[in-house]
């Protein structure tokens, strides 16, 4: 009988609905988690796979990245044979960000570490042509590379 009475009291007084309301009210008072993205820049971890950067100066035209790419978005043109003996830098290097899936599989096999992801993530353009990068237009920032390679493993992440 006390059980039934208890059930009746619970049925009439809505304790579980009240505790639900308490939960929502708790978060009503707490600070919000929304990030104000365009105003406040996100702090990205160093391993973020953003836009691909290629250091043309150190590239040796081995085409490992081209072979590893599952989406075939990289195309490397080695220089002519006679030039290649002295200067291994590619004659032309294309990356189509239209197809790139940011999987990072081109970064692993690169023997010189010339290709790597940057932390740039705002890749939207008004024109599809702008997504095809060649040797001249490929963005490259040596500072980022050094930053990433030198500091990658011993900088503490922001704690989520």
């Amino acid at each position: 009988m006390p059980g039934a009475l208890n059930r009746l009291v619970r049925m009439v007084t809505f304790p579980e609905l009240a505790s639900g309301l308490a939960v929502t009210f708790k978060w009503f008072r707490k600070p919000k988690v929304t990030e104000f993205y365009p105003d406040a820049r996100p702090v990205l971890p160093y391993r973020t796979k953003g836009r691909l950067h290629v250091e043309i100066e150190t590239c040796i035209s081995c085409r490992m990245c081209e072979k590893a790419c599952p989406e075939d978005c990289i195309k490397v043109y080695p220089p002519p044979k006679e030039v290649f003996k002295t200067d291994k830098r590619p004659a032309q290097f294309y990356i189509s960000l239209e197809h790139c899936i940011h999987c990072g599989m081109c970064v692993d096999p690169c023997p010189t570490g010339s290709i790597h992801h940057s932390m740039e993530f705002e890749l939207a353009t008004y024109n599809k042509d702008e997504l095809l990068f060649n040797k001249e237009t490929l963005p490259y920032d040596l500072a980022i590379k050094h930053f990433r390679q030198g500091l990658l493993e011993n900088v503490e992440q922001k704690s989520p």
């Binding site: 609905l17 639900g20 309301l21 929502t24 009210f25 978060w27 009503f28 919000k32 988690v33």
Partner: protein, 346 residues
């Protein structure tokens, strides 16, 4: 201009009041939407709309502008005439209901804060709001599509079911106050808001009002996860905005009515309004208006809080609650109140 001329008294002044009230209500409705979105955001650990204007305050205007500029689509299968006029059926009763709400104590014989001091006030309100269902039913049917049809069928049965307990809970208030006039009801709560003696009726009123205005957890007619948009699935642009306006006007109306019926309206308990009113009519009037607004917003906050917390009932469960739980409770409550009233009369 002669404010005492017969023309001004019978036509001019009421017309002016109506225009002002419509403007104020439309403004309140727009900002109810804003308030709801902001508060929902806060409840959900996010911030809500905050990009347009400071704290997103211009958001309702931006939304309204967008809706006005949108293309007005009439589906092929729709019945064009009904499809066009159905939103009007929804909006008119929602706004007409405000005619009898007393927002503040009158500052003077011709400066009352209500449009019509009808002696059937609350009955008029019930009658008018019961017409709101037509906009939904006709709109859903005229869309010529299955989801809106389902939405309007659900809505019709829901509104019919919940009108009964709602009316009964309001009746108990009428019994307590002994009048249909909203102002009399507010006067009767000078010492104690009806919330205290009529807590049962208040509970029934809150639940059925939430159901009557199709809001969560009873928002089945427009349950977006089942019926996409319910009765207004096929509507776009201005006609959709009309439905939107009607829904939120109903919400505001319910808040105002709850404030008047249960929370004491513009009264603060034990504050002798009458004597103060004679001394400083406008000050007291405006204070009364502020008190009313605070109470209404508090009720609105609760409304939104409920929406932020609870899941949605299923259609059949909803009807079951309406008929099998709320109706007996409200009847019982009515009997109780009638008995107490009778005992007091003896």
């Amino acid at each position: 201009m002669d404010w005492n001329s017969p023309f001004m008294l019978t036509v001019g002044l009421p017309l002016l009041k109506i225009v002002i009230l419509l403007g104020v209500v439309a403004f309140c409705v727009a900002y109810t939407v804003w308030l709801e979105r902001r508060l929902l955001g806060f409840f959900q650990s996010r911030v809500g709309p905050n990009r347009v204007g400071p704290a997103g305050l211009i958001q309702p205007i931006a939304d309204g502008l967008k809706l006005i500029l949108k293309e007005d689509i009439i589906p092929t299968n729709a019945r064009p005439f009904l499809f066009r006029i159905a939103p009007i059926f929804a909006v008119v009763p929602a706004f007409a209901g405000f005619a009898i709400v007393a927002f503040a104590p009158p500052a003077g014989p011709r400066a009352s804060f209500l449009i019509s001091d009808a002696n059937i006030g609350i009955l008029y309100l019930l009658a008018i709001t019961s017409l709101g269902v037509f906009g939904i039913v006709l709109g859903g049917w005229a869309s010529g599509s299955k989801y809106p049809l389902f939405g309007s069928l659900r809505s019709a049965s829901q509104m019919l079911s919940y009108e009964v307990p709602l009316t009964f809970s309001v009746l108990s208030v009428i019994l307590m106050a002994g009048s249909f006039r909203l102002d009399d009801i507010i006067q009767a709560q000078g010492k104690l808001p009806f919330l205290v003696p009529l807590i049962l009726a208040f509970g029934v009123y809150v639940i059925s009002a939430v159901a009557e205005t199709n809001r969560a957890p009873f928002d089945l007619p427009e349950a977006e996860s089942e019926l996409v948009g319910g009765f207004h699935t096929e509507y776009s642009g201005m006609r959709f905005a009309f439905y939107f306006l009607a829904e939120y006007a109903n919400v505001v109306l319910v808040c105002c009515v709850a404030t008047s019926l249960f929370l004491g309206g513009y009264k603060i308990p034990f504050l002798p309004y009458e004597t103060l009113l004679a001394a400083h009519p406008w000050t007291v009037s405006l204070i009364g208006l502020a008190v009313f607004a605070v109470k209404a917003v508090a009720f609105l906050y609760f409304y939104i809080w409920i929406r932020a917390t609870f899941p949605r009932y299923r259609y059949d469960q909803l009807l079951k609650i309406g008929w099998k739980v709320l109706l007996p409770i409200s009847l019982l409550n009515l009997l109780l109140v009638a008995g107490i009233k009778l005992a007091m009369l003896r």
